[in-house]
C-alpha cells in the first residue's frame, strides 16, 4: 500500500491547512468555550466545510459526495487536529456516513447520503454506556413492539449528541451485555418522543452528551443492517472512527511538537536557548521518532480502509494505540518544556493535552487496543 500521498491528496491537505489556519485557529475554540456557545461549534464554519465538500469526502460521487476516500478524510482531519477545530466532521461525515454506507439499505442510502453530503443532516453515534469503551457491553434494549421496536436505555459520551438530527443507536435485541451477537443498530430522529439529551461540558471544550432513551418507538425501517447482526456494521464504523480519529490526533501532536520545538529555539535561560540542553534535546529527538512511526501507521491504516483490506481491524488498533500513547507523551512534554507559561490558560499549548486525553478515551484507549490486537493475532 502506498505510504505517500498522491497529488490530489496533497492538494486537499494544503487546502485544508489553509482553511483551518484562516477560519478555525485555536482562538475559535477558545471563543466557543468562553462564550459558552450552545452549539459548541460554528454553524457558519460548518457550512463552509460543507461547501468545500468535506461532509461528503468519503461518500461516493453517485450519492453527491466527493468520493475521495479515507486518505482524503484523513488529511483533512489531520489539519483540523492541528487547529483543534470543533466541527461535526467526526460524528457526521465519518461515523454517520460509514454507518449508513456499510449498514443501510439502498433506499436508506439514496435518501440519507445526499443529505449528509449536503450538510443538511447531522448524526451522532449513541454507543457507550460506561465511561470505558466497551462496544458489546450494551444493556440498552430493543424490544419488538408492533411493526417496530421500543428502545430503552442510557447512553454516555455521545459525540455531538446535543445537536444531532438523527441518532445511530446501538441496542440489544437479544442476548446479554457483553455478547457480540444480538446487537442491532437503529437510526432514529433525535427529537423522537422519549429521548432526552443532556449536553456534557468537557475539558477539551468539544461536544458530547448523555442521552436517555425511554420507550422510544423505532419503526422497522429504522434498522441499519440486520437485526441482531448490528456488530458487523458497528465494528466497521468503529474502525473507521478509530483510524480517522488517529489522523486527527496525528495533526494535534505534530502541531504541539512543532510549537514546542520552536519554543526550545527561542526561549533563553542561562544565556542560551533551552533547546541546547541535552536533557531536552534527547527527549525531543525521541519524540520525533515516535511521531515518525505514528505517521506511518496512520497512512497505512487509512489506505487499508480505502482498499477495504482485511488488515483494517489490526491497523485500526495499531493506529489508535500508538497515537494515544504518542499524543499523551507529546502533549505532556509540551507543557513541561514550556515551563510556567505552559501551565497558563492564556497560552494555547495546554489545549493539546486536554484534547489528547479525551481522544485517548474515545473508541478505546491504548491498553484496549493492545488487547484487541493480541486477540486478532490469536494470542
Amino acid at each position: 500500500m502506498p505510504l505517500v500521498l498522491n497529488e490530489e491528496q496533497n492538494m486537499l491537505k494544503d487546502a485544508a491547512k489553509d482553511f483551518c489556519g484562516k477560519s478555525t485557529p485555536i482562538t475559535e475554540l477558545r471563543k466557543l468555550r468562553d462564550d459558552k456557545d450552545e452549539t459548541g461549534f460554528s454553524r457558519d464554519i460548518w457550512q463552509q466545510m460543507v461547501e468545500l465538500g468535506w461532509a461528503g469526502i468519503t461518500i461516493p460521487e453517485d450519492f453527491g459526495g466527493l468520493g475521495f476516500g479515507y486518505l482524503g478524510m484523513g488529511v483533512v482531519m489531520e489539519e483540523c487536529g492541528r487547529t483543534l477545530t470543533a466541527s461535526p466532521l467526526m460524528s457526521t461525515a465519518v461515523l454517520g456516513s460509514s454507518a449508513i454506507l456499510s449498514g443501510a439499505s439502498d433506499e436508506q442510502k439514496a435518501e440519507l447520503l445526499p443529505a449528509l453530503a449536503g450538510g443538511e443532516l447531522l448524526t451522532a453515534l449513541a454507543l457507550e454506556e460506561t465511561p470505558h469503551h466497551s462496544p458489546y457491553n450494551i444493556s440498552t434494549t430493543a424490544e419488538k413492539s408492533g411493526d417496530g421496536y421500543k428502545l430503552n436505555g442510557s447512553k454516555k459520551f455521545v459525540l455531538d449528541g446535543h445537536v444531532a438530527d438523527q441518532l445511530v443507536v446501538v441496542a440489544r435485541s437479544s442476548g446479554t451485555a457483553g455478547d457480540r451477537d444480538g446487537l442491532s443498530l437503529f437510526l432514529v430522529a433525535a427529537d423522537s418522543d422519549g429521548i432526552s439529551t443532556t449536553r456534557t461540558i468537557m475539558a477539551d471544550s468539544r461536544n458530547a452528551a448523555n442521552i436517555e432513551l425511554s420507550n422510544v418507538q423505532a419503526p422497522a425501517t429504522a434498522l441499519l443492517g440486520a437485526e441482531g447482526k448490528g456488530a458487523d456494521v458497528l465494528d466497521k464504523v468503529l474502525d473507521v472512527g478509530r483510524i480517522v480519529l488517529s489522523a486527527e490526533m496525528l495533526g494535534g501532536l505534530q502541531e504541539a511538537f512543532e510549537r514546542t520545538l520552536e519554543y526550545l529555539k527561542v526561549r533563553e535561560q542561562f544565556g542560551v536557548p533551552i533547546g541546547s540542553f541535552q536533557a531536552l534535546k534527547h527527549r525531543a529527538a525521541e519524540m520525533f521518532c515516535e511521531i515518525e512511526l505514528s505517521k506511518s501507521v496512520v497512512l497505512e491504516a487509512l489506505s487499508a480502509l480505502d482498499e477495504d483490506s482485511d488488515e483494517v481491524p489490526k491497523l485500526a488498533s495499531l493506529a489508535k494505540a500508538r497515537l494515544t500513547d504518542t499524543y499523551n507523551l507529546v502533549s505532556s512534554e509540551a507543557i513541561q518544556m514550556h515551563g510556567g507559561i505552559g501551565m497558563t490558560d492564556e497560552h494555547e499549548i495546554g489545549f493539546f493535552m486536554k484534547r489528547a486525553r479525551v481522544c485517548e478515551h474515545s473508541f478505546g484507549n491504548a491498553a484496549y487496543h493492545r488487547n484487541r490486537y493480541g486477540e486478532l493475532e490469536g494470542y
Partner: protein
C-alpha cells in the same frame, strides 16, 4: 522512650479535647488556612483550631519556643503528626510563611527580624508570597533583573515578578532583587522583605489551564523596602535564596508528615485503588483490568518506597533540619508520583474524568479534572524537574558541568 510515650498520651488527650469535629474531615480547598486576612476560611472552626494549635506553638512544632514555636524534637514532632493523622486532624496552618520564609529566617534572619516576623507566622496573622521568578528568569533564577537602589534607610525597588502564587492574598513578600548590576550574576542579588500594601505594588492574576487563578504578575514601581528587612548581607542574597528553595522543595514539614505512619501519599493511593475498584470492578478479588491493575500496584509500591525514603531521611537528620541538595530527590520524584497518580485516576474513571462543568458529572469528578490539570505544575513550580535532576547530578553525584 518512656518520655516519648508520655508525650504521646498527653498529645492524644489534648487533641481529643481540642480538635473540633469539622477539623477531622478531609481538607477542602476553600478551607485551607494560609494566614493573613485577605482570604478567610468560611468555616469558623478553622480559626478555633488555628488559635488552639498556635497557642501551643504546634502550627510550627519544631520551631524554637522563643519565637512562638512548639520546640519539639524530631521524634516528638513525628508523634504529634501521627496522633493528628490518627484522628485525621487537618493541618491548622499552611502557606509560605510556615514552609519557606520561616525556616529561612530561623537560619539567616537577625534576632530582631526573627522576633518581628516569626510570631506573626506562627499565629497565622501574616500571609507571605514568593517574589522569585521573572519573565526572563525562571530556571535561570539568578538571571533576575528586578533592581533595588540603595537610598540610605531603604531600597527603591523597580521591576516585575511573575507566577507569584497567592500574591493577591499575601500581606508580605520575600523578594529577590538585584542590588549590584555590575557584579557576576550570583553576587549582586539581595534578599528583602516588604509589605504587599506598600505604595507602588500592583498585581494582575494569571489564569491556569485548570481554570483557577492561583498566581499573579507582580509589578514594582518605586516600592520602598526598608533596610531593616534585608535578610543576611547585601549582595549575598543568593545564599539565602538557595536555602529557601531547599525548604520549599522538601519542606521539613512535608518530610516529617510523610514520616508519620499514615502518610499523605498512602492515603491517596488507597483512594486510587478504591476508585478503580468502583469504576473498573473486581473479578476474583482482582481488579477486572489486569493491565491497569499492574500499573496501579506499581504506582502504589513506588509511593510506598518514596514515603519510606522520606521517613529514612527524617530519621537521619538529627537536628530536625531540612537536608541539603538531596531535597531535589523529593521534589522531583514526588512531583512525578503525583502526576502519575492522577493519570491513573483518569484511566480508571475513563470519560467521566473530563467533565469541565455542568451536568453529567459529580462534584468529585469535576474536581478531579481540575486537580489533574493543576498537578502538571508539580514538575515546573519550585524549580522544574530538569533543574532538580541537574542539581542531583552536580551536587549529589558530583558529575562535572
Amino acid at each position: 522512650m518512656a518520655a516519648l510515650d508520655d508525650f504521646r498520651k498527653d498529645t492524644r488527650a489534648w487533641l481529643d479535647e481540642n480538635c473540633p469535629a469539622s477539623m477531622r474531615t478531609p481538607m477542602t480547598e476553600g478551607e485551607t488556612v494560609s494566614g493573613g486576612s485577605k482570604h478567610r476560611s468560611p468555616n469558623p472552626d478553622s480559626y478555633v483550631w488555628l488559635d488552639r494549635m498556635a497557642e501551643k506553638g504546634w502550627t510550627v512544632p519544631a520551631w524554637p519556643k522563643e519565637y512562638g514555636g512548639g520546640g519539639l524534637h524530631t521524634d516528638e514532632f513525628v508523634v504529634l503528626l501521627e496522633e493528628m493523622a490518627r484522628i485525621q486532624a487537618r493541618s491548622p496552618l499552611e502557606g509560605m510563611g510556615v514552609t519557606m520564609i520561616g525556616p529561612t529566617l530561623l537560619e539567616y534572619g537577625s534576632e530582631e527580624q526573627k522576633q518581628r516576623h516569626l510570631t506573626k507566622i506562627v499565629n497565622g496573622e501574616i500571609r507571605w508570597c514568593q517574589g522569585y521568578s521573572e519573565p526572563g528568569a525562571g530556571s535561570d533564577l539568578a538571571g533576575l533583573a528586578t533592581k533595588a537602589e540603595d537610598k540610605g534607610d531603604h531600597f527603591l525597588v523597580n521591576g516585575s515578578k511573575i507566577w507569584t502564587s497567592g500574591a493577591q492574598f499575601a500581606d508580605w513578600i520575600f523578594c529577590l532583587v538585584r542590588t549590584e548590576p555590575q557584579a557576576p550574576k550570583h553576587e549582586g542579588i539581595s534578599f528583602v522583605l516588604f509589605s504587599m500594601d506598600s505604595p507602588g505594588i500592583s498585581i494582575k492574576p494569571i489564569k491556569l489551564i485548570s481554570g483557577a487563578s492561583p498566581f499573579c504578575e507582580t509589578f514594582f514601581d518605586d516600592v520602598k523596602a526598608p533596610k531593616e528587612d534585608l535578610v543576611h548581607k547585601v549582595n549575598q542574597g543568593w545564599t539565602v535564596a538557595k536555602r529557601l528553595l531547599q525548604h520549599e522543595r522538601s519542606g521539613l514539614r512535608a518530610l516529617a508528615s510523610a514520616g508519620a505512619s499514615r502518610t499523605a501519599a498512602t492515603q491517596t493511593t488507597t483512594s486510587l485503588a478504591d476508585v478503580a475498584k468502583e469504576t473498573i470492578g473486581m473479578v476474583d478479588n482482582h481488579l477486572a483490568n489486569p493491565v491497569l491493575r499492574d500499573s496501579i500496584i506499581q504506582y502504589r509500591m513506588n509511593a510506598n518506597a518514596f514515603s519510606l525514603t522520606q521517613r529514612r531521611t527524617v530519621e537521619e537528620s538529627e537536628a530536625g533540619s531540612t537536608p541539603g541538595a538531596a531535597t531535589s530527590i523529593f521534589k522531583f520524584y514526588g512531583a512525578d508520583l503525583r502526576k502519575e497518580q492522577l493519570e491513573l485516576q483518569l484511566k480508571a474513571r475513563g470519560t467521566q474524568s473530563f467533565g469541565w462543568e455542568g451536568d453529567g458529572f459529580t462534584a468529585e469528578e469535576l474536581n478531579l479534572t481540575r486537580t489533574w490539570l493543576a498537578s502538571r505544575a508539580g514538575s515546573i513550580a519550585g524549580g522544574t524537574n530538569e533543574v532538580q535532576l541537574n542539581i542531583l547530578a552536580k551536587r549529589v553525584l558530583g558529575l562535572p558541568d
